[in-house]
Symmetry: D2
Subunit: 355 residues, 4 copies
Amino acid sequence: MNGEKIPVGILGATGSVGQKFIELLTEHPWFRIVALAASERSSGKAYGEAASWFQESRLDPSIAAMEVQACEPDLPCRIVFSGLDSSVAGPIETAFAEAGYVVISNSKNHRMDPDVPLLVPEINSNHLELVRTQPYGEGMIITNPNCSTIGMVMALKPLVDAFGVKAVHVVTMQALSGAGYPGVPSLDILDNVIPHIGGEEDKMQTEPLKILGTLEGRAIAGAEMTISAQCNRVAVVHGHLEALSVKLQRPARREAMIEAWNSYRAEPQELGLPLAPEQPIRYFHQEAYPQPKLHRSLERGMAASVGKLQPCPVLDWKFITLSHNTIRGAAGGAVLNAELLVKKGYLTEVAVPAE
Amino acid sequence: MNGEKIPVGILGATGSVGQKFIELLTEHPWFRIVALAASERSSGKAYGEAASWFQESRLDPSIAAMEVQACEPDLPCRIVFSGLDSSVAGPIETAFAEAGYVVISNSKNHRMDPDVPLLVPEINSNHLELVRTQPYGEGMIITNPNCSTIGMVMALKPLVDAFGVKAVHVVTMQALSGAGYPGVPSLDILDNVIPHIGGEEDKMQTEPLKILGTLEGRAIAGAEMTISAQCNRVAVVHGHLEALSVKLQRPARREAMIEAWNSYRAEPQELGLPLAPEQPIRYFHQEAYPQPKLHRSLERGMAASVGKLQPCPVLDWKFITLSHNTIRGAAGGAVLNAELLVKKGYLTEVAVPAE
Amino acid sequence: MNGEKIPVGILGATGSVGQKFIELLTEHPWFRIVALAASERSSGKAYGEAASWFQESRLDPSIAAMEVQACEPDLPCRIVFSGLDSSVAGPIETAFAEAGYVVISNSKNHRMDPDVPLLVPEINSNHLELVRTQPYGEGMIITNPNCSTIGMVMALKPLVDAFGVKAVHVVTMQALSGAGYPGVPSLDILDNVIPHIGGEEDKMQTEPLKILGTLEGRAIAGAEMTISAQCNRVAVVHGHLEALSVKLQRPARREAMIEAWNSYRAEPQELGLPLAPEQPIRYFHQEAYPQPKLHRSLERGMAASVGKLQPCPVLDWKFITLSHNTIRGAAGGAVLNAELLVKKGYLTEVAVPAE
Amino acid sequence: MNGEKIPVGILGATGSVGQKFIELLTEHPWFRIVALAASERSSGKAYGEAASWFQESRLDPSIAAMEVQACEPDLPCRIVFSGLDSSVAGPIETAFAEAGYVVISNSKNHRMDPDVPLLVPEINSNHLELVRTQPYGEGMIITNPNCSTIGMVMALKPLVDAFGVKAVHVVTMQALSGAGYPGVPSLDILDNVIPHIGGEEDKMQTEPLKILGTLEGRAIAGAEMTISAQCNRVAVVHGHLEALSVKLQRPARREAMIEAWNSYRAEPQELGLPLAPEQPIRYFHQEAYPQPKLHRSLERGMAASVGKLQPCPVLDWKFITLSHNTIRGAAGGAVLNAELLVKKGYLTEVAVPAE
């Protein structure tokens, strides 16, 4: 029943991530959008006028007609998704949490806070327990990792479980949509590669240690792993491709690694969360796969692809991974976080709608 | 005097590398083109009709009017540049050498032959001595490395000299012109990256060992170094960008590494060869440099660019390098090889023209 | 019931159009694929091996396992869709028709034959009657127009009906997928426009006269209209954008033209054909719409978009139109033709499956 | 002698057009840059720090070291080139003229002022006389047309002279650099065409009438010609391609039209101006020429290319034209205007340097 769906709001609704939230939530079986909030410039306008909608899907007319509100904690819902720009996200998200809201954030500001889960439901769903250590009463903040981190950690997790991973070397070829809108000027990227993305290498070298870390008592003990990242922007619309080499703790056979990826399942699959991919990681045997254009939308953009597994003469093994940066790596990852939270009963008075 | 220039021929003159040879040799101060040879399909036609000229420069009318000949060793010159496809280059180049021609080849076929120099004049000009061990009498074969190898070895050589290099990890983002013409279909690369280039990783892992090896007696002892390469094709017209991480034999300071690159000079610079770059390697301090579009044409496409030097948490140091794949990495490298050969007096009866 | 679906075959199944036929027919409510035929090189192989599948969707495993057959008229179905290359389509399609097959062709070979319908179901469904004049007995050939013609005629038809059209000037900006695969080399189109598409201008100047012509007795009287076309290839994956100017027979107001487009409905809509767009033509009021990337997939790629209607100082009115060249402009158009044929009862012993 | 060169300044020196002025003037035989002026944000800084140099050429170190000044009329030179943004150019250019400066402007603000020459030296060099009607005493303002106008008028002028032109229909495919920097976001144009450029169609429909108009007494009588323009942005770095159809006043043969283009010469060629192309217009007979990537740099970017001349079923003849939008269509056109002005002796106390 539509009436029984859980009302949610979106902070930063006009931006690139905000638009993707709208796409994913418009027909979501559990959630319905009741509030769109953005900066002062937009507030008071109809969403269709305030936002420059640049998704390939059509903007739902009922969403277009909604009035954009200010990013202040008096929205008629308990859960808010935050696609706020990191220049403003920090204090706004805190204010919402203090007012009792559940903030599902895609912004970097609170990711490394010790009491904030940096959540990838297939990897560390138990980290959700951290919210019980947060000082917000009914409110809480939950984050998902950087768009370039997600593909890497999904590909690493089965190897960590089966063989242990000591060191990771990663070189990224990242899509334009990762830079938001307007983002990268066309004159900078047509017939070019930009070998620099501000702050990205640092995120890739630190976030995985928290995500792959262990919940000990009420805190995360970071994973023991060395990571070196070099990040590049390429002329691709969506889909971050990453070339990885890893040093393992225990010897691995090629077939066992591929089996570890293909057979990987976790709590989102067991719980049947709406956005969960059936097979979170798929290995491609073709020598030139995966490719951004062909495989970014695998399982509606929620799965990671892996390919080209070969022995690495310098470390142990090398391979590539691909994931959709604005779906799995941003809005889709955040929605999956919210689904996990609701399904596991973390929110009193909020329940999965009956079918 | 034009009459005193050294007559040369071009094998595979209609192809992508052959066209670049024509561009570079048309106004060369030492050489003049007297013969253009190509496959049977083209021979007998005027070059302007046989070739689909797709360079941005204009085809010289006198070249356009030349009759294309068969690739048989009766051309009116002593030196031939070979841009032949590797599917046919092997036996044709051998036949020319046996007939007394000096073959300056860009093809891969003879690169790893023990008695054939795999030459980068700034790095291993003494390897030229290998030609004295060839069984061809007056004839000889000299090769230049693969287009993705060249940027890497130019960036490595000063580090090898100053600090020693034990291991190299490299991930490439290679330009479309490296695949020749017609090469990569546009439907495969627009909005995409192709994480596979046939045979390329193997070349990058083996050619540098020969180039950086030591001439001992009449043979090359390969360099002791481990290399791991992952090769990708990106939507760039010219310029191969490569992300490298290295493990050194001796500790290095950042400033010393940059100085080693910027101050590097070798025999081509000392001899003042026409195509030699004044500064073979340039380090860029800007955080997003070098970039293919902005820096591939540095020193007329003959220099390598380096940037983004940072400590590597997994190996020792990481950085990026860029070089022009069809100039320094192909035709330009081959012409520089020929210049070295002539200037060092390897060819009897052939001398640098008086100015 | 799956068992009741109409069995169909695909000629030229491994090519670009053939793959699109497979995509559209795999889950079609009326048809099921029972035969895949291609050139000798492919026949006898499993489809998954014979074809280099480059669609973004996943190839259905049951299709991948089917054995490719030769293009000879002994396929176990009555209807065949032809995506054959025009270099071979002519005689093969004739042979199938003579053997009693219904050939739904996307190839140009028979388009202008006087007794072959050049069909766009929204425009000239009555031209189907032409098949009764064909000499093939039970067999018949039906064609759809060139991919650049379709957007133009869909935009013109409501104007023809309401105001009459005397002259059309059209300049196209056509997508890469219109050239098939491998098609346009990337070196030719990255950072470029190619102002030439072989044979395209002629098709655009002649096909619309037949499509918009009148069925008089057993023949088509061509429309009286002058068309001038200039065709260009641009770096777009899918979606042909066309800039049109028209001279009308009767004065038109801007609002009336827009209303003519937006309210246009025809037989496919009335009959509820599965692939028929609900609204065949949609006018966009935004000043920079429609755009290939944003609007090519409107109504699953089966609708035409129109925008930028302005008075033309030279003719009467100017505007732009956009349509998906491989769906509406090729395979999708052909499937709609087949749906019309079946629904209107042209095929004895073949009926729309009960739901 | 360097000391004898004419000192010039650049207004808006940090922007896209300003950078191109610097490129063209750095080694100009007549002019030397003595002042760089820009907005308050930049003034006081070294140019190398104030500007984000994104040209492919290297920024001259002596230019990089110059201090950027405010855009106020106390620069140590008589001639200033203006690449100011149109949002501020109007009053600043007027202030400079009133202070006695010769303003060579690329901005649109004063183009249509009755007493300001809208100058293309090959077409209407006599319009320079208009400056004598300006109210600025020693000062004056001279403009060049919009970047999309220039290719069109160069292609039209020989036809106007030989056959008369009654009507022109033009559809453009314009390069990204025409939008300045940062300009078009990459997410808007990769895999896309944008069928709208603000104000462009109006400029193309009006500017040619003034340029091709007649100087009668002290005013321009506009050309009698009807123009209809549709403007599109495509994924090309430099080079505006335009598809034209024309209605002539007198019948023309194909060969005569081509001869009119190829043989066209005018005052810049007669005077031997440094930036003047030897052959201002070149017709290409190849069926797919000219193309932006291959021909935009013809004659150092100062010539227009024409091709694909065919009868037009709707008007009389159709063809395409191409010109480099940031050279001939902007900074290069402005420098040529200055060369004409100096060579024709319009400036007292300023003379062409002796060689």
